[in-house]
């Protein structure tokens, strides 16, 4: 006998599959909403929902589509009242029920219209209760969202009250700044030009790039902070950042200058890294760009600081003054965003993400630029199209129906091999049943080895062929040598830790780092994974269990490699979800006793776990390590801690105003070592799912974006 839960899912799936689609072809009756109400609803949707669900309601990442076949499969059998209640009680995720009932009703009206429902003469109310499939067929009227999909204009802003969209991209708490532009011009004299040699071997006290070194180690040679004195760490200075949108940035440091950014107004700032004094500030704009995306990475080269703005404009600013040296817009479609960026030698490599527009020539790519001039040199498309290598791995899908393989995380680089290593995200639609009968969908969820001078693909290894649960394999590729063997290690959302030969791409080993139940088999000769049968047989609208959930056993919170102990330190998450049948339903991971956060250390030569540390609160920063033997990591519950790299034992901890989120860095100025950690409360699934699971249990302010810098007392130095 099936549980009632299982029965319910099955009934919904069957209803969605058969009743829904048979009804889709029949004539539609007038729906209980008016055209005027849908127009109001479209405006409310654009302001409060489009950031995550897309302006064309196509969904994205973990935000489901709200129009078309996928939506009708999930929601067709349900009623308008159920949809109204679902949206009102759960959206926006950071602040459910924060809009008026009329606004929620108008959004439902817009969703009905976007699914082909014909407007009637009476407005939809919270009490309206009619089966969605009886009035809608999933066919969007031509031109409905065309205006909304127009390119984002510079200076878009001045919007009024808006609920926080998923991830808070439509946050309303940030007041418009008094003026835009170069609001404080810099006159930094003692700034040395960053050379390719410096990037290959960074000065000890600097943090020049996203992962500090080309190899992606997040490891500093600084030794002043040790297990013996870490308990004495104290706050040296703090700097607030604009509240709103997604704050997951990396403070970069060179020659005592720290570079920060905030994506609310696309402001880049240079601060004195020792004192926290502002040296220059450039408010580039636009304000509050629609479309969810966090700015995680900036890059430095020569006298330039590179900033990927939220409207997908790539800026090169003079690091000494803040002036714009060049700018370009690599993205091809209005909703596209810039993901990770990195410098390899004198080339700026740029990954594109959110390139999700189906049935259009919107494909993600990595592009190479001349860092000095901004001239584009090459593009590598991460979706294999027909007639190209791998082009036969997408079944019958046309080129324009192939989407995803986003490059939303920065790559790494091996100067000796002259290869840049990038990961890609999942194919879109995110599940096989959405994509139709298909194959491996290259180059989604793949490790790519590219020549940074030409963009030529040297080798690839697909970590998750034909991925179907939104379990990206996009994250950092860490380069580690064991004697003469050059390896590449990476951990994806399913928690598998991969070891590849980075010269050839050959599979070497794989290890599960959190409990997973999605892969039924792993071929240890080839590394090919096989899903559970029920995942492969999943029908549209059906939910399947996924441990980890699409928030990932591992996510953008980067790992750190400590070469002294050959340890790779992994920030991990332990939660599961019923996925694919509408809204994700979360639950604790079996065997974890409710510990959502896990920090583990693995010896990379042997793949042997050395220690693990679990706690209720998930970790939401990357891990960094130092040659002093101390590691740092921050979590959802506002704790930032220093720990002993060898044992995992906590050496020091402090509470921050809100969630520690982003990429901590460590640096030195004038012989003094500092540690910087960003705070932020909005984000994608790693931030949202804990928010859902811990609501009512862990309280944290949804205000307080900033950077906090710690160091030892003077007398210790």
């Amino acid at each position: 006998m099936k549980t009632r839960y299982g029965v319910a899912l099955t009934v919904i799936a069957i209803a969605g599959t058969f009743s829904g689609w048979s009804a889709a072809t029949r004539a539609q009756q007038s729906a209980p909403y008016t055209d005027q109400q849908a127009t109001v609803g479209q405006a409310a949707y654009t302001q409060s929902c489009a950031a995550c669900h897309g302006r064309t309601l196509s969904g994205g990442g973990e935000a489901p589509a709200l129009a078309g076949a996928t939506f009708m499969s999930s929601w067709g059998p349900h009623t308008t009242q159920e949809l109204f209640t679902r949206i009102r009680t759960s959206m926006p995720p950071e602040n459910p029920n924060s809009l008026s009932a009329d606004s929620y009703a108008s959004i439902v009206a817009f969703i009905l219209k976007a699914n082909g429902a014909q407007a009637g003469s009476s407005a939809l109310t919270p009490e309206t209760n009619i089966a969605i499939v009886s009035v809608a067929n999933g066919q969007m009227p031509a031109g409905l969202t065309a205006a909304a999909a127009a390119p984002a204009a510079q200076g878009r802003g001045g919007r009024g009250r808006g609920g926080r969209g998923r991830g808070g991209d439509d946050d309303s708490t940030a007041a418009a700044p008094a003026r835009m532009g170069l609001t404080l011009a810099g006159t930094i004299k003692s700034y040395s030009s960053i050379t390719p040699e410096m990037l290959a071997s960074p000065p000890e006290g600097d943090w020049l790039m996203h992962y500090r070194n080309y190899s992606g180690w997040n490891n500093s040679p600084l030794t002043q902070i040790t297990p013996r004195n870490a308990g004495l760490l104290q706050l040296k200075w703090a700097w607030p950042l604009e509240d709103g949108m997604r704050q997951q940035m990396t403070p970069l440091v060179h020659d005592g200058v720290m570079f920060l950014s905030t994506n609310v107004s696309n402001t880049v700032q240079a601060l004195d890294a020792r004192t926290g004094d502002l040296l220059w500030e450039h408010r580039l704009g636009p304000m509050n760009t629609p479309g969810q995306n966090a700015t995680r990475t900036m890059a430095l080269y020569g006298n330039l600081v590179f900033y990927p703005a939220t409207d997908a404009t790539l800026y090169a600013l003079d690091a000494r003054t803040g002036n714009i040296v060049w700018k370009t817009r690599p993205a091809e479609f209005p909703d596209d965003k810039i993901g990770g960026i990195m410098v390899a030698k004198d080339k700026l490599l740029v990954g594109i993400t959110r390139c999700n527009e189906l049935d259009a020539k919107d494909h993600c790519f990595i592009a190479g630029y001349d860092a000095a001039t901004g001239k584009q040199l090459w593009k590598f498309y991460t979706v294999a199209r027909k007639g190209t290598p791998g082009g036969d791995t997408w079944g019958n899908l046309t080129d324009d129906q192939r989407s995803g393989a986003d490059t939303w995380i920065a790559g790494t680089y091996d100067p000796q091999l002259n290869l840049a290593f990038w990961g890609t995200g999942q194919a879109k639609g995110s599940s096989r049943d959405q994509r139709g009968p298909n194959g491996d969908a290259l180059y989604s969820n793949t490790t790519l080895a590219l020549d940074p001078d030409t963009g030529k693909l040297k080798w690839f290894f697909q970590n998750a062929p034909g991925e179907t649960l939104d379990l990206d394999e996009v994250f950092e590729r860490t380069l580690i040598d064991h004697g003469s063997q050059k390896t590449l290690m990476t951990v994806g959302k399913s928690g598998l830790m991969w070891k590849l030969d980075r010269v050839t791409g050959k599979f070497l080993d794989v290890k599960e780092t959190v409990f997973q139940n999605v892969w039924a088999a792993i071929d240890m000769k080839t590394g090919r994974t096989t899903y559970r049968d029920d995942i492969l047989e999943k029908k549209p609208g059906q939910a399947v269990a996924s441990c980890p959930s699409p928030s990932g056993g591992h996510n953008w919170q980067a790992t750190s490699y400590d070469p002294s102990n050959d340890l790779l330190l992994l920030p991990l998450s332990q939660n599961c979800a019923m996925y694919g049948g509408g809204p994700q339903l979360f639950y604790e991971m079996p065997g974890t006793d409710g510990n959502l956060g896990r920090l583990s250390a693995y010896e990379t030569n042997t793949m042997r776990p050395v220690w693990s540390f679990q706690q209720r609160s998930p970790f939401l920063t990357s891990v960094i390590t130092t040659a002093g033997g101390v590691g740092f990591v921050g979590d959802f519950d506002r704790t930032f801690r220093a720990f002993d790299i060898k044992t995992g034992k906590t050496l020091w901890e402090t509470r921050l105003p809100t969630t520690a989120q982003g990429y901590p860095t460590t640096f030195s100025v004038g012989g003094e070592q500092f540690v910087a950690v960003p705070t932020g409360y909005n984000g994608g699934s790693p931030e949202q799912k804990p928010t859902t699971m811990l609501r009512g249990e862990i309280q944290r302010p949804t205000i307080g974006h900033g950077v906090y810098v710690f160091g030892l007392p003077k007398n210790v130095n």
């Binding site: 006998m1 099936k2 549980t3 009632r4 839960y5 299982g6 319910a8 209640t85 679902r86 009680t89 759960s90 459910p96 599960e512 780092t513 959190v514 409990f515 997973q516 139940n517 892969w519 039924a520 088999a521 792993i522 071929d523 240890m524 000769k525 559970r532 029920d534 269990a545 599961c576 809204p583 994700q584 339903l585 979360f586 639950y587 604790e588 991971m589 079996p590 065997g591 974890t592 006793d593 409710g594 510990n595 583990s600 042997r608 776990p609 050395v610 220690w611 693990s612 540390f613 679990q614 706690q615 209720r616 044992t647 995992g648 034992k649 906590t650 859902t692 609501r695 009512g696 249990e697």
Partner: protein, 186 residues
């Protein structure tokens, strides 16, 4: 086996009668054998009871609800005993269910006994057939408790082999307990 063999060879070459020295030596041998030869010991399992999949609407109903249980397999008979607390409504039903593996919803196998209200006890004893025994040993059996507020399932937890439980915030050596799932093939 190596140790007992070694001890026996020493014994063979020593005293012939049952004097105190030989009795003492024999006791040592017996203890050594008991120490190294496993008895037909009962298999022990432990269960964390945690909320079933929930969304924003049902999340307020599951806050603070949890439980633990143990299960002992003696021969082919399983005995389950556990407690739960913090339910938002009275517990109404408990059962042992079979699934494809940890974290995957499955089908009820037989009812368990409930005592209490929003907090209480769950227990049961049942002879398992061969397929159920195999399921138990491959972590496919789970306890589910329904409540008035969550009639389709409030708490669930898989029967996992007895393992070390690290205290929260205490590092453990190795990875700690990670239930295996994927089959590794070559």
């Amino acid at each position: 086996m190596t140790d007992s063999t070694k001890i026996r060879s020493v014994s063979d070459g020593s005293a012939r009668g049952w004097g105190p020295a030989r009795i003492k030596k024999s006791l040592i041998v017996l203890l050594a054998v008991l120490a190294f030869v496993p008895l037909a010991a009962a298999e022990k399992y432990q269960v964390y009871l945690s909320p079933l999949p929930h969304n924003d609407e049902t999340q307020p109903l599951i806050i603070g609800s949890k439980g633990t249980a143990t299960a002992t397999l003696d021969g082919d008979t399983i005995t389950i005993s556990g407690t739960f607390t913090g339910l938002s409504g009275r517990a109404t039903k408990a059962r042992l269910s079979l699934s494809r593996g940890p974290g995957i919803p499955g089908d009820a196998q037989f009812d368990l006994t409930l005592e209490g209200d929003t907090a209480g006890k769950v227990s049961g004893q049942k002879k398992l057939d061969a397929s159920q025994l195999a399921a138990l040993r491959s972590r496919k059996l789970y306890i589910q408790i329904d409540s008035e507020k969550m009639p389709s399932g409030h708490l669930w937890g898989w029967l996992l082999e007895e393992h070390e439980i690290a205290g929260e915030d205490v590092p453990v050596k190795g990875s700690g307990y990670l239930p295996p799932f994927a089959v590794r093939t070559k």
